[in-house]
Point group: C2
Chain length 639, copies 2
């Protein structure tokens, strides 16, 4: 297949979803969307942009790194607006829409004549505009408002916020560049790069792509912008947060980067933006760098949940194979960012190398961030808990709640992508996708109970017959998947390219595809270089990582040892987990008849038991207690 | 045996030690003692007490808890003086002695006319004297200077510092009490209690014991002193460091305490002081409380190394059975404090329940704190390291370096204790102890290569024959220990009381005892309630916990599984570890031929190997790298 294809995600309104994804979206419509706005109001974010009242000033004190999370309030509002917008596709909600309209009106009044727009730097520290791109998230905030604007326009047809953000982007084009009086700068926290691509796609304005590409190309070049900026600003160039340009991936030009380093969310947002630019400009040098970085992340630095960034200290990466389970930072936003990146790596053609990881991170590291009722949120996502880790109602740095919400609320856009004469299905789940291809209007539907069952029935509706390819991911873990077109078996291997079965033909209404993906439970072992997982196994079924919880198995989950054959696993449906499939497996347990001693010279006796595993993203939704993903296994002494 | 015996440790000058303890003391004489003084000078501690120059003021900024570690500088000087004093017993060093004399002269000039003495509250915040006993370590500093004074007097015969501290103690007697105008207070950080007992024992002044008992008795009573004090001082009574009186064990009166809580060092110092008071006053109510607390600590909250206090957040205790290995705080000072407490629990009679733990904490959690060359120091003592945990040259809160140094430099005093007509030998090691008993002057010597070998030969020299008991600990782990007196075998069980073999007879010069303690390696398993040690085993030999280090076994220590019979362990002597005994054991290793994948569905292959174990306290003295105490074991699936 040629590399110069350009796949772009379907717009969110073009896909309706049901099933598990639909259930998550209902929770967002029922609770999360309004909760996000409520929390933003409570935090003071709306007052901060209301020019009819005096500026509330510094509400969250300036921290030792020289800034405050209050500086990113625009981003929280932007992501919340984006979430509400997606929720409005699914379910009209005039009250929510009116609340967002009111916020947009405030932004309209706040915007400077020159187009500039930023709550902090207009209302609290106006004299500090564009003085510290390295630390103060100024363009990051712009990016999130742009994403919100695009989503709200697509959802409601209302252009006000989109126009505001286009004016701001037009102003940015005058500020940033290599021309006289311009700044050759970029943001310490990437985000505006991918946002400008969204803005360009919805407006058709290439100038926004060009600005995005400028930010990507400038990053990490010498003389270093952040060094020059610090000198101009009278700051110590060496004494800053984390004290390394690796923190924001600006240590070398992006095409020379080979190792995934620094703040995990920043890294993912950068790579996502790079992948967009690679797709739009067919930039092989960017793609090559991204492929190297992809391998680096996924073969040395990623939890089995698709969680990334093990350390709280830098909210990011440490050493290769350093994946502590109980202290895992694995920020929800970072897994969300990995989904963003993976999705955009599919821009130059379907490849399960990216899509499998996208699904793994989406279902596990990301989806765990939202409670089943849509009301509480994980920031960190450990793979082991002693019983004290629970979702927050809110967080002092509330980046994760709207991030997981906007991802799940827009998931249809991650399921399907179209290129000329081809539609790729990256993710499975009950849904209907509408798109135009080869001049025909097509609706492609999936009937399935995936991820709980592996049978997926595709139906085609077309206003007229058309020739194009339907390209379906065959997950790398799916051994023995089968495919039928209109009831006729197809040798799946013969049509599979890069892990996608590609069926090119004339499609007409009534055509059907049946894909059967076996969902046998899999015992997963980690590379022996991951010291924290030695002698342990994780259970997966389909895209889902499983875990044991105290509510099913009692406290003391490390007393369990998996010994049995996975073929003996029994599946059952758990109503309290919205129909999730649980797995029951024979296991041994260290016996409790130990006495009072803390230490002794004989090991505990073993007793037979059954261990119940439930999907990791659904943990901590019932009685709180211990949780464990990597369970001890007796397999190591076998083999 | 009666409970009203009173065993008191031999003074440090009465015992000469060689062997392993002697080697540690030589390192202190060679390096540590001078290093401590050097670091105190570098930190500005000596300038802080020099009234001939202006006060240097606040050098270490006030922290959010309302104080600074600079407030405890007197304690660092006190412990350093104490260490130097003990080193002078072993080896005269006129230069070091002159430096301490100069410091004592400065303290003499600093002391207030009323007897008060405190660098911070005389030179930096004089208006704050006695305003915040809860947080500001004022009496804690006094206590450490008292301990230094006692040691220096015993070492040099010079009384100046002792007189200074007696004047201060006399002043304290006027300040604290239940009389009119007196404060019914006590220190947030216990220490002065045990120091006053030392002062009383060396001066024979019961009034110091009484003050110590007052502090013990007042602690945690209602109305609560710290609450009243905060109100008087205009502070929020609820908003303080750790926000619970459990932090400093003042939540309830000490005799009602049943659970070991809060800051680990504070707890140990309190219990040590309580034990001293229990011995001196034959106070059964205190002893009963201490027995309960002892069980609580040693059966639910203690690492196998004798490390205690798993959490950095409160430098102390968390939940029962919560003993994380890699993130273990297990402060050196806390294990030193446990040795202090255990030693004082022996005041009312020998009992291996206390002495075994004393030895375990001394050799492992405490001794690890000092490098073999005596130049660097551990503050935290994890039981697993990914390779980045190393000893410090110094620490921002330098409590641990002088604490482990003064313990090791005075170890003779922990080995032997005397009561009327009885000498107890709590610890073994080549040494000579001099004491008077029953009117005779006795020298009891140990010839042994303990802890590397288990044969211990005791020789008696007496200026005249005398009847008394020699009482020798038979460690709980020593299966099959044998005893001979003057070559004649004695049935050890028949003379053993509370784990001590008690040989009462007329002793004369030339008498000999031979104690043989088998040192077979032991595989230790943790109670299944300790989730962090499940499926793992720790190796001990004698009192020493063993560990594997990367320098012997390569990186990837969690790839090792112990499978073999401990009887196959081979011992050898490691010159680079000063003759320590290493253990070589057959083991399996997860094979490295895994490929590049991070995760896969088949476990790693196993290869046969030999694992080398070295004593835990000696780790990180060679090429830096990983370390692991609790090694995976195949034993769990057996049994």
């Amino acid at each position: 297949m040629k590399r110069d294809r350009q796949f772009r995600p379907l717009p969110v309104p073009s896909v309706d979803v049901q099933g598990l994804f639909g259930d998550r979206q209902d929770a967002i419509c029922d609770s999360t969307a309004a909760t996000l706005l409520d929390r933003c109001v409570e935090a003071g974010m709306v007052k901060a942009i209301d020019t009819s009242i005096p500026s509330p000033g510094v509400i969250i004190p300036i921290q030792p790194w020289g800034g405050t999370t209050q500086m990113f309030w625009d981003s929280d509002l932007g992501k919340s607006i984006e979430t509400v917008a997606y929720s409005l596709y699914r379910r009209a909600n005039p009250e929510l829409e009116a609340r967002v309209d009111a916020i947009i009106d405030l932004y309209e009044k706040l915007q400077n004549e020159d187009g500039y727009l930023n709550a902090w730097f207009q209302r609290v520290q106006p004299e500090r505009r564009w003085t510290n791109l390295r630390d103060h998230h100024e363009l990051y905030c712009a990016g999130h408002l742009m994403e919100g604007a695009v989503a709200y326009y697509q959802a409601t047809g209302k252009k006000k916020l989109l126009d505001i953000m286009c004016r701001y982007a037009d102003y940015l084009i005058t500020v940033f560049g290599r021309g006289p009086g311009q700044m050759p700068g970029y943001c310490g926290h990437e985000e505006v790069e991918l946002a400008l691509v969204k803005l360009a796609r919805v407006t058709g304005e290439k100038k926004y792509l060009d600005l995005s590409k400028f930010f990507v190309d400038e990053r990490g070049t010498e003389p270093h912008f952040f060094t020059d900026e610090a000198l101009r600003d009278g700051r110590d160039v060496a004494d800053f947060h984390q004290k390394t340009y690796e923190y924001g991936q600006s240590h070398v030009p992006v095409r020379e980067q080979t190792k995934v380093v620094g703040h995990a969310v920043r890294a993912m947002y950068l790579y996502a933006g790079m992948a967009d630019i690679a797709t739009e400009y067919k930039d092989d040098s960017l793609t090559a760098a991204l492929e190297t970085l992809w391998d680096d992340l996924t073969t040395k630095q990623m939890y089995v949940t698709g969680g990334i960034g093990p350390a709280a200290a830098n909210e990011g990466f440490t050493d290769y194979y350093d994946l502590p389970n109980e202290t895992a930072y694995a920020e929800t936003c970072a897994s969300v960012g990995l989904v963003f990146w993976a999705n955009r790596m599919l821009g130059r053609g379907p490849n399960r190398r990216y899509a499998d990881i996208m699904e793994q991170a989406l279902y596990n590291g990301a989806m765990a961030g939202l409670s089943l009722d849509g009301k509480t949120f994980f920031y960190e996502n450990p793979l082991e808990s002693g019983g004290k880790h629970h979702r927050w109602v809110w967080h002092h740095c509330p980046c994760c709640p709207p991030n997981i919400a906007r991802l799940l609320a827009s998931i249809g856009s991650y399921m399907y992508a179209v290129a000329d004469n081809e539609i790729a299905v990256h993710l499975y789940g009950e849904s209907q996708a509408r798109f135009e291809i080869g001049g025909a209007k097509i609706e492609l539907s999936q009937k399935t109970n995936y991820p709980w069952e592996g049978a997926i029935h595709f139906g085609v509706k077309a206003d007229k017959p058309a020739r194009f390819a339907i390209t379906l991911r065959v997950p790398g873990w799916a051994e023995g998947a089968t495919l039928k077109v209109n009831g006729e078996a197809i040798d799946i291997a013969s049509v599979t390219i890069d892990g996608y079965a590609r069926i090119e033909r004339d499609w007409k209404s009534g055509d059907a595809i049946d894909l059967e993906i076996p969902l046998a439970p899999r015992a997963i072992f980690a590379n022996p270089l991951v010291r924290q997982d030695a002698g342990r196994t994780a259970l997966m079924r389909g895209p889902l990582v499983y875990c044991v919880e105290a509510t099913d198995n009692g406290e003391g989950l490390n007393r369990l040892t998996l010994t049995g054959d996975l073929g003996k696993a029994k599946t059952s449906t758990v109503d309290a987990l919205r129909g999730a499939v649980a797995l029951d497996l024979p296991a041994q347990r260290d016996a409790a008849d130990w006495g009072t001693a803390l230490y002794r010279t004989s090991p505990p006796k073993q007793e037979e038991t059954t261990a119940r595993f439930v999907p990791y993203p659904f943990w901590d939704n019932r009685t709180p207690g211990e949780m464990l993903v990597w369970v001890r296994t007796g397999a190591a002494s076998g083999e």
